[in-house]
Amino acid sequence: MTSEPTSGLSLVDIAVQYGDVVAVSGFDLSVSLGEVVALLGPSGCGKSSVLSAITGIVTPSAGTVVWNGIDVTNVATHLRGIGMMFQDNALFPHKNVAGNIEFGLRMQKMAPEARSSRIGEMLELVGLPGYGERGVDELSGGQQQRVALARALAPEPGLLLLDEPLGSLDRDLRDRLADDLRTIFTSTGTTVLFVTHDRDEAGRVADRTVVMAAPS
């Protein structure tokens, strides 16, 4: 059991179960504020389930999720203020690029003018200026990934989770985007936990790497 920090993220003895299948058991992890941590492990070891437990998409069958000193284990997903970038992006197919990025800002009830300037900033940040009116299905894989990142970062979540953010890209693009991610995280000072199966990627992006073993 790790010492419990009063700020940042702390997972204590987390277990996730789907029916009879145990995906994660007895998992501990802590991430300090401003830290970028990579969660590394083979596929099927339950990395994504850990992220789902942190966001509240699944309720852990045991253990607690503490965020900035508050037990959020049973708090509804949308009230946690934890952002996430999904594997394969999960962009909203019926909204354009700007509409995707705008969504989280509207949920925060940000004023329309403030929203559009923030969308501009985010597109600038991920290197896609002027792409706001594009449909998401007109974008390449790498561009979609950038939009997904911009969408997740726009509401300035205290904690950002990324599930295999560079998963489906080819080698060259991965390396470039990995460096971009690193730069963006440092410049925005975001606390980040990201899941990958690629040791190189973990080293390039993260301050610290945690290795997760497959459940026995």
Binding site: A76, M84, F92, P93
Partner: protein
């Protein structure tokens, strides 16, 4: 036009048989009856037609038909989407069976459902609700009938939407309600539109339900066409009413097509995965179980009422109604048992016709993306929206003389049933034919297979299950068809639904009891057909 599939550009040949079938057995009879109405003396008399068309009474009928259909559709969508959500999101014991069960009312004969609702909501209502002769009863029956279309169509695409879009919405700060309104609903709109327009068509052209439950003061275009044709022999009025009805039907189909391309999100639907959760504990779980229970009660009550009545005779429970089915009576030329046998034989023949003709049409539609394919698709939907009285009477007056004299042919009934079944066959087959990966065909061609060989060795095995499901549907539709059969079935060859109506129209408890017994048997056979459909559906594809 882009051509794909095993036949390349000669795909048009596939459409020849369906086109001829449709022209001879549908377009010609309907055109003939309309012509006879418009030109009773042999020459077109538009002044008379204009007089009829401007009679206020018919527009009142058209308006009532439309608004009751709109209300029925709205209520069906609300109830259906609520149930679809449960089927899409939760896994529970008996889910598949329950889902199959919802299809039963949809294929039940309208006369049976109408009678069941009279038993349930009539003056002897066991729940103390006398709604007979009200529009409420009509709408309730329409919801009962059509809710399966919404549950299946919307539920299937719901189960195949990527749930991570909803998860993303939640992590961006949207609550459950906002997520539903902004993320789920817009992506479901294409399937809601598809289901909604079919429900509208069925409620709009509904015949048996309105006739039995609406009361004499409320007639729809379909019922009025029937009455004008049979009771008053006013073919001129009937022709005008039939044309108004068909115009609205065609407008609905065209509107659906326009809207569909506008609503498509381009999202790739996934193969349905095992993402269903168990029913949660606590209040949310109670809500789910409660909604399932209420809908189940709503769906089962009329059907149980039917079985109950079939087992009652002389104030006690008995099998007398069933035993009587083998006795000849004065009601019909033949015994009820023979009517059952007729229905099964006609059903088999109609199924064979519908699967062959519908299958060829589905292949032609699936392999083309051009205008021709869409036109064929639209035309083959028309029998669904055509007044059964118009079709039945039209067949009688056109196919009664050489070169095609089918008046005494036993094929007349199966042909009419096949016309009604073909739209369902097409709806079920087109998606699964389109789902066949074109690279498999290329692979077969590269390995030396001719187009026919390719079709036989790639397409046929891959869509075989969908064909069986379509056959089950066509069979069920044939068993239940009443409107057209009433016109064309010969008295010595009654089908089960026409026999039921005959028995219902005669006074006497024994006749009523036997009608109930026949209805129960019809329901039993229909349930078997539906179970076949459910057994052979692959991955819940198809529009129905």
């Amino acid at each position: 036009m882009t051509a794909r599939g095993p036949f390349g550009r000669s795909v048009g040949l596939l459409a020849v048989i369906p086109a001829v079938f449709l022209a001879v057995f549908f377009l010609w009879p309907v055109a003939a009856i309309v012509w006879r109405g418009l030109a009773p003396e042999g020459s077109l008399d538009l002044a008379a037609t204009f007089d009829i068309a401007t009679t206020g009474r018919w527009w009142k009928v058209a308006w009532f038909t439309t608004w009751q259909a709109l209300v029925s559709t709205a209520v069906t969508l609300i109830v259906g989407i609520a149930i679809a959500r449960i089927f899409a999101k939760y896994e529970f014991v008996g889910r598949r069976w329950l889902r199959a069960g919802f299809t039963v009312p949809f294929v039940l004969p309208t006369v049976v459902v109408g009678t069941a609702f009279i038993a349930l909501l009539g003056s002897n209502s066991p729940i103390g609700l006398d709604l007979r002769d009200t529009v409420v009863a009509v709408i309730v029956a329409h919801v009962f009938f059509n809710v399966a279309i919404v549950v299946r169509t919307v539920g299937d695409s719901w189960a195949r939407l990527d749930p991570r879009a909803e998860h993303a919405s939640r992590t961006l700060g949207a609550g459950p309600w906002t997520t539903w309104r902004e993320i789920t609903l817009p992506r479901l709109l294409p399937s809601i539109l598809a289901a909604g327009s079919i429900v509208f068509l069925f409620s709009f052209t509904s015949f048996g339900v309105v006739l039995l439950l609406g009361g004499p003061a409320r007639t729809t275009l379909e019922v009025e066409t029937y009455i004008q044709t049979t009771a008053f022999l006013r073919l001129d009025v009937a022709a005008v009413l039939a044309m108004i009805q068909m115009t609205i039907v065609v407008l609905t189909l065209v509107f659906q097509r326009r809207m569909r391309s506008r609503l498509e999100t381009g999202e790739q639907l996934r193969r349905e995965q095992s993402i269903r959760r168990p029913i949660p504990q606590g209040t949310a779980g109670v809500g789910v179980v409660f909604s399932v229970a209420v809908t189940l009660a709503f769906m089962l009550a009329p059907l149980l009422m039917l079985v109950h009545e079939s087992l009652r005779s002389g104030g006690r429970y008995t099998l007398a109604n069933y035993r009587g089915l083998n006795d000849g009576t004065s009601v019909m030329f033949v015994t009820p048992l023979e009517a059952i046998w007729n229905s099964v034989r006609f059903g088999v023949a109609a199924t064979a016709l519908a699967v062959v003709v519908g299958g060829l049409a589905a292949a032609a539609i699936a392999y083309t993306s051009g205008r021709a394919g869409r036109a064929l698709d639209l035309t083959l939907m028309l029998p669904l929206g055509t007044s059964a009285a118009t079709l039945g009477f039209g067949i009688l007056i056109t196919l009664d003389e050489p070169p095609l004299d089918l008046r005494t042919s036993v094929w007349l009934v199966p042909i009419a049933h096949a016309l009604v079944g073909i739209p369902f066959v097409i709806r079920l087959l087109v998606p699964s034919i389109r789902a066949v990966d074109d690279r498999l065909r290329t692979a077969a061609r590269v390995l030396g297979a001719s187009p026919w060989k390719t079709w036989l060795s790639v397409d046929v095995p891959l869509v075989a299950k969908a064909v069986l499901a379509a056959a089950g549907f066509a069979f069920a539709v044939s068993l239940g068809e009443f409107g057209a059969t009433a016109f064309i079935a010969r008295p010595e060859h009654p089908t089960l639904p026409t026999a039921i109506v005959r028995y219902l129209s005669r006074p006497g408890a024994a006749n009523f009891g036997q009608a109930m017994a026949m209805s129960t048997i019809l329901m039993g056979v229909t349930v078997c057909a539906v179970l076949v459909i459910e057994r052979f559906r692959i991955g819940d594809t198809g529009d129905f």
